[in-house]
């Protein structure tokens, strides 16, 4: 490198910040006009090359400090700078600023280059109120691919940009892309000690292992495009989280094809990315040309050219295996035990049907409608009725074993645990009866109807009431442990799992309460009442429920974070979801039984019954059973 002058900058040449004052002349040739940009490692000046006296020739002077205390380090830096400047000088491309000169003065290294007037993409995206348009971003990206292709194919040695990002991409006054700032930066890279907060955002993962190769530039361009199309700065996000934020989920104006193309460039696995910048460029150019018109060939079927939507994995409708008609609506949810399905109807009867065939086995008449759902224990099936009684019926014969009168309708479904039956009544009491003979052990009084079914653990019974409270009562004694107050009736039957009690309230909110202490751990507000009871998928760690706001919700059970929400065509009811390994089933006021993918919430199929489905579906073997207000009970294949 030429150390042409041993001229040292005089004190008056530098301002207090250390930048050169306007008017300072370097190498007796370059007059500093103004400081344009001060970066972490370099200062950029606009300067005038005074060699050309008769005209005003502008140039850019980039100044880098080289003032390490160790003279050997300074030498090494100067040598690296020297090599870099020479490589840059060998490049010739319209999008790469030309290098004119380089020299050193007073511990500062200078590069004199073509001056580019314009803005960099960082400024442009910052000034833009929203994401940039697809057409413009694709156009710029194609120009960048062009430069990358040139750099990567450079002889004798391919040149890797390594630090491609929006601030290194400028748009000149003619609206053309110019890439700046490459290469020189790595000369001055110092190891950073201690903890830092924040990451670079654009470089690919392998670059952190020290592997910098051309396909890393492709990733960085993809990262840049992602930022421009979503206005999400990757430096502010967790590193390598692009795939968790697909472009279309933030900016739906972007086409699926472009989203896929950019995601391919952003593959963390380097071999899955585009192999070359040319490949990336071709993929981008394909986005630009309009679809060619369809030219029919003789005899060939007409094929529509619209962009195809992905066909659903599971086609459309479910067919019933059998259906059984009662004489009135079925609001009760079925219960299956040992191949027999039990269900109540508003026609006053408790039915026992063969689960596989739907064949009628027996029915037991109560004195009023049945909304409650049956439960089975040993040889007995228990059911509550609007006639104020709870019945225990022999499963084999359909004849009565015992009954227990209360002073209000029994709409709550009984829960059986430890040889006891627990259920609530409209008479405000929660009953604990001996399952064998119906003898009352205790009754706990709440302040209003109890229509939800209790959840029972070893020591405690949990249930909700129309007074808005969820109670925790000791199993042995019937004494209150705690009560949790919500703002509206709780129809939802609470679910106990991992020390938390889950339930929804008509106050629009779904709660997760610590079962021991009765304290809310998290809650999730929906847009309308919740009458449905929750269900849990243990392997997925998700809790499911529906709301009158038409949503089926899947939340992470430990944090309440919404994993998905699927919209139905009508309000959610008291129908509660049933969960299998892969699917969630639930009924809706729009008359359908929905089957959704348990992981994604995508609708697999919907079965139409014609009337509101308030009954909860039940799973058994490979079948799902549900009742509808259209008087029928259906058995479908899962």
């Amino acid at each position: 490198m030429t150390e042409q002058q041993t001229h040292r900058l005089a004190d008056e040449d530098t301002s207090t910040e250390g930048t050169l004052r306007p008017g300072t002349i370097l190498q007796q040739r370059y007059q500093i006009l103004e400081t344009r940009n001060i970066g972490g490692m370099a200062v950029l000046y606009k300067a005038r090359d005074m060699r050309f006296e008769k005209t005003t020739r502008m140039c850019a002077a980039k100044e880098m400090y080289n003032n390490a205390p160790d003279p050997r380090l300074r030498d090494l830096t100067a040598q690296a700078f020297d090599r870099e400047a020479n490589v840059l000088a060998s490049l010739s491309h319209p999008a790469v600023p030309a290098i004119y000169d380089y020299f050193s003065e007073s511990n500062r290294l200078y590069l004199v280059m073509e001056f580019i007037e314009g803005k960099d993409l960082d400024e442009i995206i910052e000034e833009s109120p929203g994401p940039l348009s697809q057409e413009v971003v694709v156009d710029w990206a194609i120009q960048v691919c062009d430069v990358l292709s040139y750099l990567h194919n450079h002889k004798p040695q391919p040149y890797v940009f390594r630090d491609l990002k929006p601030s290194n991409i400028m748009l000149n006054e003619q609206g053309r892309i110019v890439v700046i700032d490459f290469g020189i930066a790595k000369v001055f890279q110092r190891g950073q000690r201690g903890t830092m907060i924040g990451t670079a955002g654009y470089p690919p993962p392998e670059q952190y292992r020290g592997d910098a190769e051309p396909r890393g530039d492709i990733y960085a361009l993809g990262a840049t495009m992602h930022h421009l199309l979503t206005k999400r700065d990757p430096r502010l996000e967790p590193p390598f989280s692009f795939h968790e934020h697909p472009i279309r989920s933030i900016n739906s104006a972007v086409s699926e094809a472009l989203d896929r193309t950019i995601m391919k460039a952003l593959e963390y696995d380097i071999d899955k990315r585009f192999a070359t910048a040319e490949d990336f460029k071709s993929a981008l150019e394909a986005q630009r040309t309009p679809e060619p018109p369809h030219i029919p060939t003789a005899g060939a079927p007409t094929i529509a050219f619209a962009t195809s939507t992905l066909a659903p994995a599971h086609s459309g409708s479910a067919l019933p295996v059998w259906e059984f008609a009662c004489e009135d609506e079925v609001g009760s949810s079925p219960f299956v035990a040992d191949g027999v399905l039990y269900v109540g109807s508003y026609d006053h009867n408790l039915y026992a049907l063969d689960a596989k065939s739907g064949q009628f086995m027996w029915k037991f008449p109560t004195e009023d409608a049945i909304s409650s759902s049956p439960r089975v224990w040993q040889g007995l099936v228990f059911i509550g009725s609007d006639d104020n009684l709870v019945y225990a019926i022999y499963r084999d014969s359909g004849s009565i074993a015992w009954s227990k009168p209360t002073r209000g309708r029994v709409i709550s479904s009984p829960t059986v645990a430890m040889a006891h039956v627990f259920f609530g009544s409209d008479d405000h009491f929660l009953y604990n009866l001996d399952a064998r003979n119906g003898r009352q052990v205790w009754a706990f009084e709440a302040e209003d109807h109890i229509r939800s079914s209790p959840a029972v653990s070893e020591d405690l019974v949990y249930f909700g009431a129309d007074d808005g409270n969820v109670y925790s009562v000791e199993v042995q004694s019937g004494k209150l442990k705690w009560k949790f107050a919500t703002n509206r009736p709780v129809l939802s039957s609470p679910l106990l799992y991992e020390g938390l009690l889950f339930f929804g309230s008509l106050d629009w909110t779904f709660y997760a309460v610590d079962a021991t202490a009765g304290w809310a751990v998290w809650n999730r507000r929906t847009r309308h009442r919740i009458a449905s009871s929750p269900a849990i998928s243990q392997p997925r760690g998700l809790v499911y429920f529906t709301s009158v706001d038409q949503g089926i919700y899947a939340l992470d059970f430990s944090t309440g974070r919404q994993v998905w929400r699927t919209e139905m065509d009508g309000p959610g009811t008291s129908s509660s979801p049933a969960v299998s390994t892969d699917a969630v089933y639930v009924g809706c006021a729009d008359g359908h039984l929905y089957s959704l993918d348990a992981k994604t919430g995508e609708i697999r199929w919907k079965f139409h019954t014609g009337e509101s489905v308030v009954s909860s579906p039940v799973l058994w073997e490979n079948m799902v059973f549900v009742g509808s207000r259209n008087h029928r009970i259906y058995a479908l294949l899962q």
Partner: protein, 285 residues
């Protein structure tokens, strides 16, 4: 220093928690015993870690309900501001949790939809601390990992690369995710944990308190079975002492306090240069 300041300020090795209440009751309630140690380490000029512990128990009609709050914060910055940031974080979060959980609990106001859920209180405490640190200290930040223990449930809120572990007789399991660049690279299979130990950017975090913008906070719920322990620590411990050795030290120690002292000593023996902070909450019956 008033007693409040003593309790809420950054402290040196704490005396062990008082012995549990009447153990002879037949009730199955489990009670935590706590150890805590902080040590600036052999190399650093000062200790930029901060910690807070508070253990309480309330008994009503034979039901003993323990409650506790345990916080570790590791300050980030070259100058003393790191220490100020971690201290501020710990005090603000403790104060927030005391007023929004402990006080309502004592006044029996917790059993209602109008009481903010626990995870929400922890999140907001950390967000408030984040705002204050950002305003007060331009170049500093801090990690924060806190656990609110109620009965045998631990509610954990976490930002950064301090850690919470669940320890049993034979197993130790990391509960929190490190918000560090190298951890993300490990998740992607681009780096092995061995390589991460010596990676030049192993301390780079992508999430910490003290930055502008929305702060995302991880929350966890972990039940603490009998004879298990909850371990909270700064990276000064886990970077220097492998998990199996941590497990062994805890099982061999005679008390949680002894375990914490042993862990800090081991970190230094292994050549750890960073500040070391350890809190161990042992659930006993």
């Amino acid at each position: 220093m008033s007693w409040i300041e003593k309790i809420l300020g950054r402290t040196q090795p704490l005396p062990p928690a008082p012995l549990p209440l009447d153990d002879s009751k037949e009730s199955k309630s489990l009670f935590p015993v706590v150890g805590a140690v902080t040590d600036k380490g052999p190399v650093a000029d000062h200790n930029e870690d901060a910690l807070f512990t508070l253990s309480a128990a309330l008994s009503q009609e034979n039901d003993l309900l323990p409650l506790g709050l345990y916080i570790v914060a590791d300050g980030i910055s070259g100058k003393e501001q790191g220490a100020a940031a971690s201290s501020l974080a710990v005090r603000l979060v403790a104060d927030w949790v005391l007023s929004k959980i402990f006080h309502p609990f004592l006044l029996d106001l917790g059993h209602s939809a109008n009481q903010q859920p626990i995870h929400q209180v922890l999140r907001e405490a950390i967000i408030a601390a984040n705002g204050r640190i950002h305003d007060a200290y331009a170049n500093a930040g801090t990690t924060l990992t806190c656990a609110f223990v109620l009965g045998t449930n631990a509610f954990i809120a976490h930002v950064g690369d301090s850690r919470a572990y669940l320890v049993n007789k034979s197993t130790i399991r990391q509960l929190t995710t490190d918000h560090s660049l190298v951890n993300r690279l490990i998740e992607l299979g681009q780096l092995t944990p061995e390589e991460a130990k010596t990676h030049p950017q192993r301390s780079v975090l992508y999430r910490a308190l003290g930055r502008a913008g929305n702060l995302e906070i991880d929350t966890y719920l972990q039940s603490l079975p009998a004879h298990s322990s909850l371990l909270l620590c700064s990276d000064g411990l886990w970077q220097a002492v492998p998990q199996e050795a941590i497990l062994a030290a805890i099982n061999a120690a005679s008390s949680p306090q002894a375990a914490c002292r042993q862990l800090a000593a081991q970190a230094k023996e292994n050549g750890g240069e960073d500040n070391i902070t350890v809190i161990l909450v042992q659930v006993k019956s």
